[in-house]
Symmetry: D2
Subunit: 410 residues, 4 copies
Amino acid sequence: MPEEIIELKGHIIDSLILSKVLDTIMEMGGDFEILEFEVGKRKTDPSYAKILVKADDPDHLSEIITELRKYGAVPVESDEVRVEPAPADGVCPRGFYTTTNHPTFVKFDGEWIEVENIEMDCAIVIYPEEKRAVAKPIREVKKGELVVVGDRGVKVKPPERPRGRTGIFGFMESDVSPEKPTPTLIRQIAEELEEHRKNGKIVVVVGPAVIHAGARDHLAWMIRNGYVDVLFAGNAVAVHDVEASLFGTSLGVDLETGEPVKGGHSHHLYAINEIRRVGGLKQAVEKGILKDGIMYECIVNDVPYVLAGSIRDDGPIPDVITDVMEAQKEMRRHLRGATLVLMLATMLHSIATGNLLPSWVKTICVDINPAVVTKLMDRGTAQALGIVSDVGVFLPELVKELKKIRNDGE
Amino acid sequence: MPEEIIELKGHIIDSLILSKVLDTIMEMGGDFEILEFEVGKRKTDPSYAKILVKADDPDHLSEIITELRKYGAVPVESDEVRVEPAPADGVCPRGFYTTTNHPTFVKFDGEWIEVENIEMDCAIVIYPEEKRAVAKPIREVKKGELVVVGDRGVKVKPPERPRGRTGIFGFMESDVSPEKPTPTLIRQIAEELEEHRKNGKIVVVVGPAVIHAGARDHLAWMIRNGYVDVLFAGNAVAVHDVEASLFGTSLGVDLETGEPVKGGHSHHLYAINEIRRVGGLKQAVEKGILKDGIMYECIVNDVPYVLAGSIRDDGPIPDVITDVMEAQKEMRRHLRGATLVLMLATMLHSIATGNLLPSWVKTICVDINPAVVTKLMDRGTAQALGIVSDVGVFLPELVKELKKIRNDGE
Amino acid sequence: MPEEIIELKGHIIDSLILSKVLDTIMEMGGDFEILEFEVGKRKTDPSYAKILVKADDPDHLSEIITELRKYGAVPVESDEVRVEPAPADGVCPRGFYTTTNHPTFVKFDGEWIEVENIEMDCAIVIYPEEKRAVAKPIREVKKGELVVVGDRGVKVKPPERPRGRTGIFGFMESDVSPEKPTPTLIRQIAEELEEHRKNGKIVVVVGPAVIHAGARDHLAWMIRNGYVDVLFAGNAVAVHDVEASLFGTSLGVDLETGEPVKGGHSHHLYAINEIRRVGGLKQAVEKGILKDGIMYECIVNDVPYVLAGSIRDDGPIPDVITDVMEAQKEMRRHLRGATLVLMLATMLHSIATGNLLPSWVKTICVDINPAVVTKLMDRGTAQALGIVSDVGVFLPELVKELKKIRNDGE
Amino acid sequence: MPEEIIELKGHIIDSLILSKVLDTIMEMGGDFEILEFEVGKRKTDPSYAKILVKADDPDHLSEIITELRKYGAVPVESDEVRVEPAPADGVCPRGFYTTTNHPTFVKFDGEWIEVENIEMDCAIVIYPEEKRAVAKPIREVKKGELVVVGDRGVKVKPPERPRGRTGIFGFMESDVSPEKPTPTLIRQIAEELEEHRKNGKIVVVVGPAVIHAGARDHLAWMIRNGYVDVLFAGNAVAVHDVEASLFGTSLGVDLETGEPVKGGHSHHLYAINEIRRVGGLKQAVEKGILKDGIMYECIVNDVPYVLAGSIRDDGPIPDVITDVMEAQKEMRRHLRGATLVLMLATMLHSIATGNLLPSWVKTICVDINPAVVTKLMDRGTAQALGIVSDVGVFLPELVKELKKIRNDGE
């Protein structure tokens, strides 16, 4: 019966790592023997396990080891990473290693080096002279670059449970609790935002419901006051924001009275046309056409934004990046260094953002549809919080709490 | 080809009545000829139509006429209503007429008399000596009472579109618009509540999410200030309300901090036990055990409540009516005279309430689940409003608007 | 700094028990030291941990220990259980122990005895002479019975991960995977049902959508062929089943053509009236009135059923238990010995059933609404499977697979 | 008090047109007098109404008239259409007319000419020499082209209720009935598909759930047998289809056993890499790499497909159009002549398709999420059918019914 010895280190008990390793072996029909086990006696001590894994045949064993690597297990006798040159631009060699969103290391030249720009579903390219390893989407791999093949010599560091209380964030949970007292939760989110405003980088991903639901001024306030370091959205958000500025309506509905107005169904097209006429949002601000709102605040406060195109778009306005791969690249660039991502009422942009994030970035997702929240939470993120709520009442309450914090701070 | 002449009167065009009559004839494979048509020239004038309906055979014709009656169509040659005695207590004669929730009239002794206590899915009992007709659930019909059989001599008056603007309420719509600016809508609902507080009767139907989501104090404020004339709920609402009062938690979650507290999972059972110990909610208030919250405000402000049992209940507390038919009877009694029903985050109690309501009572339904809202709207109610939102943020905003109105009024 | 030593035994690593114990201590702000740790070397070996728990003060320590007990932790120096007499019928002494749905033991007279009829949210009554301990809902406790108070001397055995593969069931998961190949899943459910038909007891909980959606014949087939040992439902299921039998419609919609039929809106009331007239479902079968369908198959195949009342009910038919506490009692009685519960498109009855089940009974829940499925899964059940699907297509496919199995078996 | 006379013609009663006109006048605070009314006496006869509309001031009147035009109302004294030249490429003159998705006519040179390629949210460009009018998205308007401005001289023909039964399709309904017998509905959909296969053009819009849910073979069968004239999808559908072909998995889950397989998480990236390596799907078919499935059947049966990019995409494969405006253009081109659109489990692509469709094309939408179905139905489509169901069981049942029809036809 073929066997291999693996090692695990760190807070492997309360971070569920050891549990998942044993679960995986059993679920895949393998067997195990725990050879050594040193338990971290105190809360801050790491633990250590050395496990003998057994399987029916060598293939089966290799399958199991491949799965275990996702949880940070490494064979004791760790080989060097294997590489092969990419056969063409945007094409990887067969059997290339595909990344997770956890911190990842490759054993190269006898040393463990960390993979840069880690993100799920990428390949790893090795630059031997610089001793660097970089995660890259398939299409960005260049012909001849050395791509890691197989999983030998690759080590993943899955998220560890933070020591002490986790606060509003769940650890590795995809659960959404609709039975929490919302006002309390909102106060805690406000505190988190304040913290990241001072010492982090906040990315806010926004869907058009924010405007339809009447929370445009509140998001604008957040931008003006530093709670948004980057804004991701689509054409619709910008268009309805401009519509609100020019006509006081969103999709033709008066934001003051809630009633549809005369010819209001044309307003979003007129908004698009007006922005196209002057050449873009920045020009519209400069010419005094666009005087308030979400996009206005981004522009006058130098908050960068990425407006990514979709096949649903009318127009679009010139600021929208219509090539989705270009848009993805811009999003990726702006996500570097993010510490908190706030996703508000958009499935498409939130999922796209989630795909590009390393697992250690905190995420908060607010959507009226529980299925969207669940889907967004289900990414193995170390610290995530999902809230099923209506942005039209959520954002006003959030801003109220942020204002309280600012007043208390004075 | 058999044929029959029917008549329609009232605001039959904009109330969609004539459209539905013609649609029904075509959908059922019949044919028609419009013999007379006088259109209400001005907005307030009623219209009149006399229509010849044709069908393949007498049965088919009678089927079509039966359907058309739901829209208020009456054969020109209107017969007397037919009655048969009930064969036993709680049993109707075969082929008895089943009611809609619209105003209904029966032709008895040459006169059209209005059916009292109209409610959907009832039988009509005629009291010949008093010249009265009363809608009754099957089980309340007594042996020997005269029950209307067939639909001859029965006339229904479907809702007419109100003249002028309908405001926030849709006419005969089951649509739910999630793309309305919520703050605006809430202001308008506040105005509606204020109006019915002064000149109507407000029934509020409540689910336990109101407490879990942290809006308990807000609902208590509404009771204290006269916005609730009757409260319908289940055991869970009362239990979690008492739990919040005694322990500051809801299902063991601290309503201040949002965190689960020590032994909190026992709290709702301890709340039940405490109320059972003293004999009921009123006794708990009298003994100073229950000092605040939803049930406390009902009791000290003499707002009647109906707590209806369900098979999910723990306990229950003594105030809960465990026999569902008794509970239904109490709900029916308290709904007499209602002008506005506000349904908050409960499917079971809201649907039960909806079943007992005549079609002219205004209803507002708030739920996080769009499917619940749609289901509740889909009852042919003349004026209904459905909102997909989170009660935990909706009620605080509503109370804020109600307070504004009160301050403005001073 | 106060401290206490606790013990844990069993498959505490892969069953997540140890992880949750450490997580709880940290989340509650306590500290720990692992004094002894013997790991089960092989898959079938149990592990053992002795942990020193520390807290700020004695109260804090006792809070933490209380929480840890839920995961099976027991203080090494285990006291006898404490009891107090119930002060009145249906009232427990203050601070009584409230049960989980896991196997539970009490230390009485120096011995650990298992609590009978375990079910969540009950009290434990001790019969000293018989050395028995029984879980009882509050209202069934009699004056003077000895009720366990506090958690000293109580030990819980949380579910352990089954050794080997768990198949379609998730272990302690509340996740619902909508991205599984449904046909494959259905085949595996069919195999599971076949297994429990032969060697278990299958309880099926049914909502009226089964009939509206056109799957009535398929459920009838399952009853006829032994896949239903007990049926739980409400008035609506029975009424629409009878309606389908007498009129071929469900809520007035022809089940063959999908179109509403003449006077169809009266059919469910006529069905109710007919069953009330003859005195009940059994009488309707005996008199040859009810000749097919779900209730018919239950009656002729001696499959017991519980029809529990709700405030939404029309009628109801005489078989319905209108007192919800009586209905709950009947459900509880029929759940004894259940090995598999299949919940089909009903939230109310499924949740009620879930509340009465011990954690080791397998459950499968099918509903079109993901929120319902998630809610039903979230009960700490050892083996549960949630499927978001439409019963109208799910049941026909399930029956197809069951037939295949039967043919293969011949 | 300013007033204007408008006219309405056609089946204006049962098509709800007259009702909506009167409703709109009242909702907007106007008044009316019906000057003439000739009612179509028989089912096939058109009706005619001449209505005097009154308002507070000329602006208010013009607002009302603008709204009424959407329902086909035309001022009796109809002016010529007004045009202005486009100021730049992709920019319209201010106040340009924005289209609905209904048949539209402009009065030009004394004649009513029909607008070609009608689609919602476009501008109308007039080619005076050819006497043609064409609907164009803003960005396709060229500098100097004559664009219709204001709504004078524009006439819309809203959908009329089909004479006779409407079958499974609702007329102008956004309701979704989850309480229909699904098997019956599926049979009727099969009949509809068969009809359009013979005498129409069927566009099928597909989301990846079709593959995850195990219905890939069934959709492939439909393509092979002529039930798909055009396929719209995204990168994910093609990738998972290729993954299923190369590895037998979908997102790493074995489609036979429903269990995740070794290294399965890499499969979709390997599928992408393989297609990128050979240059595209067609090349993969030619080289014998792709041997079955959805994309294979499209290619060997010459069924055109549009794969539109999105920011969520991994890869993508070379067949995907990454510029969303290019993709939209291709979709628009392939939708010409469509008679039936079947939307299966995709929100993004279905909404995008819906936006491009004239109101007379029949649409059937199947999704597990009722909110998606409702949103897709809510487009004023004359004949639409929404079904909340699981494609994994829906498509197998649909193919079963299609096969029955084919056998019966032989």
